[in-house]
């Protein structure tokens, strides 16, 4: 159980972090420069917050009021650095040796052999870090951390240093480590793939302030804020004006259309919808019938961006005045789209997200 409530003044913004994490993999999702690494460093004791309290499994690591600030050496925190931070002048064995606690050093021979076996590092024991592949480096770094018996794992963008091919393999290795790990794991990332593959819960971090955590699935179905939705990959947002509260009808000002949404709340000011939730309706007559179907309207195609699984289609509603197009994702089988200039789209009422601010 990790409890963090800290504040720290930084150059460009103030860090204000507040969350609790149980025995789960908590992802901290934020763009680069949002304070993710700084948060991990404060927990590890490398950086000192200006104010607050950090508690790990009942142990106070930091408390500004009680003037407690344990040095990193006593925090029992396993920190996986972005570039792994293997000691360059040491061999794989010596790097592993560095992770063994003092009282176990006399038994180090066996411990290292064991770790080499477990982390699948046979044959590279005598090699220096620069001779290893990215995957091997990460396994050495993880092995070194695990030998130190940490109470929590902190991972700083664990896959960002790897190229695509290695990423898959390392991701699977991390997944199986996470499954066998009994305690808390904190993983910071800006990558949605990493997040959805590896994390249970997620807290979005924006300009130093983190938001209430939710499950990763919830982040995609009901992101709590516009920022969360943006980070989750949603590209369609519009300001709204309430038309009829009873019917939950409102006008999406940036798209120039009227919509219904079961998610509308009295204070809602913005609406949004994920690219993959907009449904193109490919009929021969792209005109809206007199008895208009709700949430369905004609759009003009602007661009099609090809991708393997699904094309990104950029379009605009016919009544739209300003310059914010709709982005929708549709399977590549929809070949007709290539020939059409105008077509019908449906924004399903339950898929339209509404945000207060």
């Amino acid at each position: 159980m990790l409890k963090v409530h800290i504040r720290k003044r930084l150059h460009t913004f103030d860090l204000d972090i507040n969350f609790e994490a149980g025995n789960e993999v908590l992802g901290i999702l934020g763009p680069s420069g949002s304070g993710k690494s700084m948060t991990l460093k404060c927990i590890a004791g490398i950086e000192t917050p200006d104010w607050g309290h950090i508690e790990l499994d009942g142990r106070t690591l930091f408390d500004s009021r009680a003037k407690i600030n344990l040095p990193p050496q006593q925090r029992k925190v396993g920190y996986l650095f972005q570039q792994y931070a293997l000691f360059p002048a040491m061999t794989v064995e010596q790097n592993l040796f560095a992770g063994i606690p003092k009282e176990e050093k006399k038994n180090s021979q066996n411990i290292i052999e064991d770790a080499i076996d477990r982390m699948n590092l046979k044959g590279v024991e005598k090699k220096k870090p620069y001779q290893l592949s990215g995957g091997q480096k990460q396994r050495v770094a993880l092995g070194r951390i695990l030998l130190n018996h940490p109470q929590i794992l902190l991972l700083d963008e664990p896959l960002s240093a790897l190229d695509l091919f290695l990423k898959w393999q390392v991701e699977l290795e991390l997944k199986s480590l996470f499954e066998s790990w009994p305690g808390t794991i904190l993983l910071v990332t800006h990558n949605l793939g990493e997040l959805s593959h590896l994390c249970d819960q997620v807290s979005v971090l924006h300009e130093g302030v983190n938001q209430t955590k939710q499950t990763v699935r919830e982040l995609y179905s009901h992101p709590a804020t516009v920022v969360a939705a943006k980070l989750a990959g949603c590209r369609n947002f519009s300001r709204i004006k309430l038309v009829d509260w009873q019917q939950k009808r409102f006008k999406a000002l940036d798209w120039g259309i009227e919509l219904l949404s079961s998610n509308l709340r009295p204070k809602s000011q913005f609406c949004g919808i994920f690219n993959h939730d907009i449904m193109p309706l490919l009929t021969d007559a792209p005109s809206v019938p007199e008895d208009k179907i709700e949430n369905t309207f004609v759009v003009k195609k602007q661009h099609i961006l090809w991708a393997v699984a699904a094309n990104q289609v950029v379009c605009k509603s016919k009544t739209q005045t300003n310059d914010s197009p709709l982005f929708l994702e549709c399977p590549t089988e929809y070949n007709e789209l290539n020939l059409m200039d105008e077509f019908l789209v449906c924004l399903p009422s339950e898929k339209i997200l509404c945000f207060d601010s």
């Binding site: 490398i46 931070a85 000691f87 360059p88 002048a89 040491m90 870090p129 620069y130 130190n148």
Partner: protein, 228 residues
């Protein structure tokens, strides 16, 4: 043939390099962590001897260590030790003159050092002293070695400040450089040539050592960056 100047030069250079090694590393490491203003100031002060004429350094040394200076006269009274015009006076001169070379190369090495390595050591429970000796120094060893060799070469070639604080007494304070000057002055070209050759040989070896160190450093850097 009197080989005293060679022996004297070597011991002066060796002792000063020994002192400079620890002092340079310590100050480079310590100053790298200071706030910018203080860092800039100390940096200038410590690098100054590199650009000052050695005679200016010699002048300052005579004014602080000489028998009429406060410090010099104090030592003379208390310990009956004269700080100038002895063979070991040249050590002070070489330390001051060669120090910036060690300091700057070590500082350069420390500045390019990835601080995540320190943090990794700390989170693994390593003490800061252990991190410094087992992680920082080995990682920066090529830069530090280059600095050491460079300081040794500079200390060995020191003339200006040395001749001012140690003078030239054959068999007592004579170094290779002061001997060459003395032999030239007295017109003993044959012997002067010999000492010139000795000096060139030593410097040649030292510079070869530096070059091979730099080549190795480049090679390991290339390997390291391609390994990522």
């Amino acid at each position: 043939m009197d080989w005293f100047p060679l022996w004297n030069s070597l011991r002066i250079a060796a002792i000063s390099t020994f002192v400079i090694f620890f002092l340079g590393i310590y100050l480079a490491w310590y100053i790298a962590k200071l706030p910018p203003f203080l860092k800039g100031l100390l940096d200038v002060v410590l690098t100054l001897p590199l650009v000052l004429p050695p005679t200016v350094v010699g002048f300052f040394l005579l004014k602080t260590l000489g028998p009429y200076s406060a410090f010099g006269s104090f030592i003379l009274r208390m310990a009956d030790v004269r700080l100038v015009m002895e063979w070991y006076s040249a050590i002070f001169a070489s330390i001051v003159v060669a120090f910036p070379l060690m300091y700057r190369t070590a500082r350069g090495a420390f500045e390019s050092f990835d601080s995540d390595l320190c943090y990794a050591g700390q989170t693994l429970g390593m003490s800061n002293a252990r991190i410094f000796w087992q992680v920082v120094l080995p990682t920066c060893r090529q830069g530090i070695l280059a600095g050491t060799v460079l300081s040794f070469a500079r200390a060995l070639g020191e003339y200006g400040a040395t001749s001012m604080v140690s003078g030239f007494t054959p068999g007592q304070t004579a170094t290779i450089s002061t001997t060459v000057y003395q032999l030239w002055r007295t017109g003993d070209d044959a012997k002067a040539y010999l000492w010139v050759m000795v000096n060139i040989t030593i410097s040649f070896i030292v510079l070869l050592a530096i070059n091979s160190l730099e080549a190795r450093q480049k090679k390991s850097q290339i390997l390291q960056s391609s390994g990522v």
